[in-house]
Subunit: 619 residues, 2 copies
C-alpha cells in the first residue's frame, strides 16, 4: 500500500493499546495510520485477565459479546498455606468467591491477547479512514512544537521504513524504501522498549524487583484438587499464583529465585521452573500434559516522566510509559484504558468540536494529569502485592480483598479539571471524602455499572453497553419518581425544553436539532432514568429531547429507562446502589469515556451548560 | 470442485434444515455433500423468531453465544382491541411478559435467517468431510431399496447438474455438465417446493387457508405507543401481529382479505397492504421510513404422507414435508428441529455404533414416528392460532398463554420406541399423565433446561450448553445428597464401578476406557449432578467414571455438577424444578439430541444397560 502523505494521527504499534486507540475513530473522517514492525496480526499470544472495566470498554466498541463468549470465567479463589500442624507440605485454608459486590458483574475473565487483538482489529476493517501497515518501523521523527497552537497544522514528520528483508513485494519492489509522512498527532503504543519514548527523551523512573519468576501455560497432570480455581499457594519457599485458562490449560507464576544475587532470567530452564513449582506444590504431583508457552522474567516497576510532550502533539500509551509485574493482570488492561482516555479527546478536537486551540491543548493535558497518577498508584500497589506473595501475612485476607478491589479500577479518581467538575460549592477533591474502593457517583470516577430497563420494550441493558464509543457526551438525567412527584415532572419539562432549545439560551447546538439530527450532529446525548412505575409512563408524553423525531427513522425509542424489575435479569436498584434520592434525582454529565464529568441538581441547566462552556464546546 | 464419486449422505438444500443436519457431522469421518441451487450463501433474509429450544440446539453446535449476541430480544406483548366505549379505533387492553416460567430462559429471540445460516455455515468450514456445492440441482435420483438392508451399501444414485448458465467457470469449463454420485442416504431439505419429495412420490395432505396476508419489514414512522413491543392489534377489521426487529425495524403481519373469493397474493400492492394496516391501527398513524422487504401470501397447511421412504434411505426434512403459517414463528424452528432429530441417528449408524442393519433401520424409523406427529400437531395448533387472529375471543388470554407455551415445544413427547423407554412397570404413555405444557422429566420429552454449578470451579452452565452435539448419549446421574445420605454415596460407588467396568458385566465399552479414551471412543458420557453441600465434596474422591484420567490431559474436571448457589447467576434449584427427591435421586439416559431416553432408579444399572442393548449398541 502506498502511504498517504499526511494523516491526522500516526499510531506506532498495533497491539492492544494501539488498536484500542484506533477504535475511537470508527465512523469518523479522522485519518489514522497504525504502523507495526510485526509482519501481520498476532495469531497466538499469552492469556490475559480482562478486568470488568476493560470488558465495558469492549462493549462500548460493540465487541463485548464476542469477547465475553470466548473468555474463560474465574469465580473462585483458593488460598493454600503451609500445614498448620507443622508437617511438610501445604493445605487448603479457604475458598472465596472472586467477586467484588460493588461491581455488580464479573470481576475478571481470561482471554488470550491475540484474540483480544483479533476482535479489535476486525472492528476496524469496515472503516477506510483507519489503515494499518505491518512490517513497518519508524526511522526518525521531528516535531515542530511551535506549530502546536495551530489546530490544523501537521507538526509531526516521521520517516517510515520497511522491516529489513531480502524479499520483494508483490510488485517486485524492495520493501525497505523509506517514506515520509506528516501527522497532526503521534502516539507511541510501542511497548516496554518504546522507540518513540526514546525519541521524545522521556525517561522511565523506577527499579527492577529482587525476584525472578517463571511463567508456564500448560495442560496440567496433577492430583492437586483445586487446579481449576485461581489459587494462591503460599509455601515456605514462596507463593505460586495459579490461574485456570481455556483449552484445559492453567497458567502458573512460579517464584524461582529471590535475593540480591539473581540469575539472568535467560539462564532459567523449564526443568528448573518446574522443580521450583513442585517444591511448593508438594505433596501434590505436577506434570505437564502439554506446554503451550513458558518464560522467565524479572519485573521492572517504572513510570515515564511524561505522558505527552511537544505541546500535546506526542503521546505515550500503555507499556511504553509504565511497566510492572504481570501478576495482578493489569498490563493489557491499563494499556487499553490509557488509550481509551486519550482517544475521545483527540476525536473531539479533530472533529472541531472544541472552539479554540488553547482549550484543545488544555483538554489534551488531562491525558497525563489523569493517567500518570494511575500508573504511579499501580506501581505502589504492585510493590505491596508482590510482598503479599513473598511472605505469609497475618492480614492476608484484608490485604487480598483490597487488592481485588484495587484491580477493578474502583479506586481511580481523576483530579478536577475542565473535564471533571467538582460539585457546586466543593473546592477540593478531599471534601468529597475517601470513596476509594467504592462504586459511587463522584466526579472523576468511572460511572458505576448498573442495569436498567428500556421504557419502550421492557428489555434490559447495562449502562456501559448502551454508552457506545461514538464520541458523544451524555447527560444522564435521573429524574426520580416523575409519576409520584409532580414537582419532578415539572423540573423535567423545564430541563427538557432548555436542552432542546436552539441559540445561546439552550443547548440545541449540542443535543442536535430534533428533526433530522443524526448521531453526527449530536455531541450531547440526553438519556433519562426514572424510578416511577414503568407502566404509568407513556414514552411519547415525555419531553421531545428524550425521544427525538427523525424524518427518516421516526422516534428514537432507546433513550428512556426505568429503574425497574425485569423479566429475566431482576431489578437493577440503580437509585439505591448509586445513592440517588427518588424524590430529588440528579443530572450527571458522563464523558465519552464513561467517566463522570459532573454531578448536578436535576434542574441545574446552567451547570450543564457551564461544563461545556468550560471545555470550549459551547460559547 | 470435482465431485467425490460417493458420499455417505447427500443433502439437497443448504438452508436452515440442511445446514443444521450437516452440523451433526462435524468432527467425524462421515462424508457429507450439500448441494443447493443458489449461487452462494444467502446474504440477506427475513427476520425469524428463534425459540428457546432452537437456541439450545445452536448452543450444542457451539454457536449459541454468537447467535444470541446478534439476536433481538422480545420480552413484552401488548394486546390491543377495539375501544370498549364503542368509539372508533383501538385501545390498549394489557401488556404481558413474553415469558414461560417453565423454560427458565428467554422464550424467543429474533434474528434474520441469513445470519442464522451464516453461523451454521461458518461452523462447517473447518471440517473437510463436509462439502457444499452451490449452483447445483439434482436432475434424477434412483434408490435401490433392495440394498437398504446392507449397512455399507450405496443404494442412492443421483445425477447432479449445474444451474443453467451461459457463464464458464474459472477454468473455462461450462458448469452445467452432469455428474453422477452415489450415496448411502439422501435427505431432502429443499423447501416447500421440494424436488426430492416429488421424486419420492410423497404427497402433501391438507389445505390452503381462507385469508391473504401481507408482511412488511420496515422502519416505522408512527405515533403508536407500543411499537417496540410484540403487539396483537385486534380491530373489527382483523388482527395485526407486530414484531420488533433489530435495525430499528418492525415486522407487521397484516390481514388484507379473507373469505371465499380471494385475490391472488401476487396482485396485492404495497399500498393496499399499508392501507389495510392503517385501517386497523387507526387512530394512530403509520408511515414507512424505509422498507426492507415486503410480500403477500396465502397459507397452505399441509403435512407429507411419509417422512422417510425406501427402507429409510431417503428422508424429507422441514418445509419439504410440512407447511403452515409463519405467524407463530415455527417454520425455521421446526425445520432445524427435524434435522436435529435425524442427524444423530445417521451419525450413530455411519460410525458403526449400531451392531445390526435391522436395529439401524428401526432407529431411523423413529424419525418419522417422532417428527410427523409434531408436524400434525403444529398444523392443528396453527388452525386454532389463525382463528385467534381472525376474530375476537372471550378466552383470548387463556388461549394465548397456551399458544405461547405450545410454541416453546413444551408439549412435544415422542412415543415409546427403542430410543424412548417408559418407566419400569409403565406400559402406555397415557399412564405418564398429560404433562403437556410442562417442563418435566418424562421419557420422550426434551430434557428441561436447568442451570448447574461446576464442582471444579464454581462457574455455572446451562445443561444444554454443556451437552454438545458430539453424538454421545449421556447418563445424567442425579445422585442426590451424597454427603448427607451415605446409602446414596454407596449406590453411586456401585453404579460408578459397573459403568466403568470392561466386558459384558459393565458398560466400559460405551463409557470409554478410563485411560487414554478420548471423545471418539466415548459413546456414553457419564455426568453427575449432586445436591450435597458443594464444599463438602472433593471431586477426586468421586468414582473414576465421573472424572476420568487421560495420560495426555490429566483429569476431566467437567463432568460433576452441584445443584447449588452461584456467584452471579443464583441457584438453579434443579432437584426442585425437576421434582427429583434429594434422598432418592434418579438416573436419566439423555439422547444425543437432548431428549430423555429413559428415567431410572439411581442404581438401576441393568436399566441403563438394557436401553443400549435395545438400541443395538451393546450386545
Amino acid at each position: 500500500m502506498a502511504n498517504p502523505e499526511s494523516v491526522d494521527i500516526l499510531i506506532i504499534g498495533a497491539g492492544p493499546a494501539g488498536l484500542a486507540l484506533a477504535n475511537w475513530f470508527r465512523n469518523s473522517n479522522i485519518r489514522v495510520l497504525l504502523v507495526d514492525k510485526k509482519p501481520g496480526p498476532t495469531t497466538r499470544g499469552q492469556a490475559e485477565g480482562l478486568k470488568s472495566t476493560t470488558n465495558e470498554i469492549f462493549e462500548t466498541f460493540g465487541i463485548g459479546a464476542q469477547i465475553t463468549a470466548e473468555s474463560w470465567r474465574l469465580e473462585e479463589i483458593a488460598i493454600w498455606g503451609a500445614r498448620k500442624d507443622g508437617g511438610a507440605g501445604i493445605e487448603r485454608e479457604q475458598v472465596i468467591q472472586d467477586k467484588v459486590e460493588e461491581l455488580g458483574k464479573i470481576r475478571e475473565t481470561m482471554l488470550q491477547q491475540s484474540r483480544v487483538e483479533h476482535h479489535m482489529l476486525q472492528n476496524l476493517l469496515p472503516h477506510s479512514n483507519i489503515q494499518i501497515q505491518y512490517d513497518t518501523v519508524p526511522a526518525s521523527v521531528k516535531i515542530d512544537a511551535a506549530l502546536s497552537n495551530e489546530t490544523d497544522a501537521y507538526p509531526v514528520e516521521v520517516t517510515l521504513a520497511g522491516v529489513a528483508s531480502d524479499e520483494e513485494d508483490f510488485y517486485g519492489n524492495g520493501t525497505d524504501a523509506e517514506e515520509r509522512i506528516r501527522a497532526k498527532y503521534i502516539v507511541g503504543c510501542d511497548g516496554a522498549r518504546s522507540w518513540l519514548r526514546k525519541q521524545l527523551n522521556v525517561t522511565l523512573e523506577g527499579d527492577l524487583t529482587d525476584s525472578v519468576f517463571g511463567v508456564v501455560d500448560m495442560v496440567p497432570k496433577s492430583n492437586f484438587p483445586d487446579i481449576r480455581k485461581v489459587c494462591y499457594l503460599r509455601a515456605d519457599t514462596g507463593t505460586i499464583l495459579l490461574v485456570p485458562r481455556s483449552n484445559k490449560e492453567v497458567r502458573l507464576y512460579i517464584p524461582v529465585e529471590s535475593g540480591s544475587a539473581l540469575p539472568d532470567p535467560k539462564d532459567l530452564t523449564f526443568a528448573r521452573i518446574m522443580d521450583a513449582a513442585r517444591r511448593i506444590l508438594s505433596p501434590y504431583t505436577l506434570d505437564a500434559g502439554s506446554v503451550a508457552w513458558w518464560s522467565a522474567y524479572r519485573v521492572g516497576q517504572r513510570v515515564g516522566s511524561h505522558f505527552s510532550t511537544h505541546g500535546e502533539r506526542a503521546f505515550l500509551v500503555g507499556d511504553a510509559v509504565h511497566t510492572h509485574s504481570p501478576k495482578a493482570g493489569q498490563g493489557m488492561n491499563t494499556s487499553i484504558q490509557d488509550a481509551y482516555n486519550l482517544g475521545w479527546k483527540l476525536r473531539l478536537i479533530l472533529h472541531k468540536h472544541i472552539h479554540s486551540a488553547g482549550a484543545a491543548q488544555t483538554l489534551l493535558r488531562t491525558y497525563e494529569s489523569e493517567r500518570r497518577p494511575v500508573a504511579l498508584d499501580l506501581i505502589a500497589f504492585d510493590r505491596g502485592y508482590l510482598k503479599l506473595f513473598a511472605a505469609p501475612s497475618a492480614q492476608f485476607d484484608t490485604e487480598f480483598l483490597r487488592a481485588m478491589k484495587f484491580t477493578t479500577g474502583l479506586s481511580i479518581r481523576y483530579p478536577p479539571s475542565r473535564a471533571v467538575h467538582l460539585h457546586r460549592g466543593v473546592t477540593s477533591p478531599a471534601d468529597l471524602g475517601p470513596s476509594l474502593l467504592k462504586a459511587d457517583l463522584v466526579p472523576g470516577k468511572r460511572l458505576p455499572e448498573f442495569q436498567v430497563v428500556y421504557q419502550a420494550d421492557g428489555t434490559t441493558t447495562r449502562i456501559h453497553a448502551r454508552l457506545h464509543a461514538t464520541g458523544a457526551f451524555r447527560l444522564l438525567v435521573f429524574a426520580g419518581d416523575i409519576v409520584g412527584q409532580t414537582q419532578l415532572r415539572d423540573k423535567l419539562e423545564t430541563l427538557g425544553a432548555r436542552l432542546a432549545a436552539p441559540g445561546p439560551e439552550g443547548l440545541g447546538e449540542l443535543t442536535g436539532t430534533l428533526s433530522g439530527g443524526g448521531p453526527d450532529t449530536m455531541r450531547l446525548e440526553t438519556l433519562l432514568v426514572h424510578c416511577a412505575e414503568r407502566d404509568k409512563i407513556e414514552l411519547l408524553s415525555l419531553p421531545d429531547v428524550f425521544r427525538p423525531w427523525s424524518e427518516t427513522e421516526g422516534y428514537d425509542y432507546w433513550r428512556v429507562f426505568a429503574d425497574a424489575d425485569s423479566a429475566y435479569e431482576g431489578h437493577g436498584h440503580v437509585y439505591e446502589r448509586l445513592e440517588i434520592e427518588r424524590e430529588t434525582g440528579c443530572a450527571v454529565v458522563v464523558r465519552p469515556d464513561g467517566y463522570v464529568g459532573a454531578v448536578l441538581e436535576v434542574d441545574d441547566f446552567e451547570g450543564v451548560k457551564g461544563y461545556f462552556q468550560g471545555l470550549g464546546m459551547f460559547r
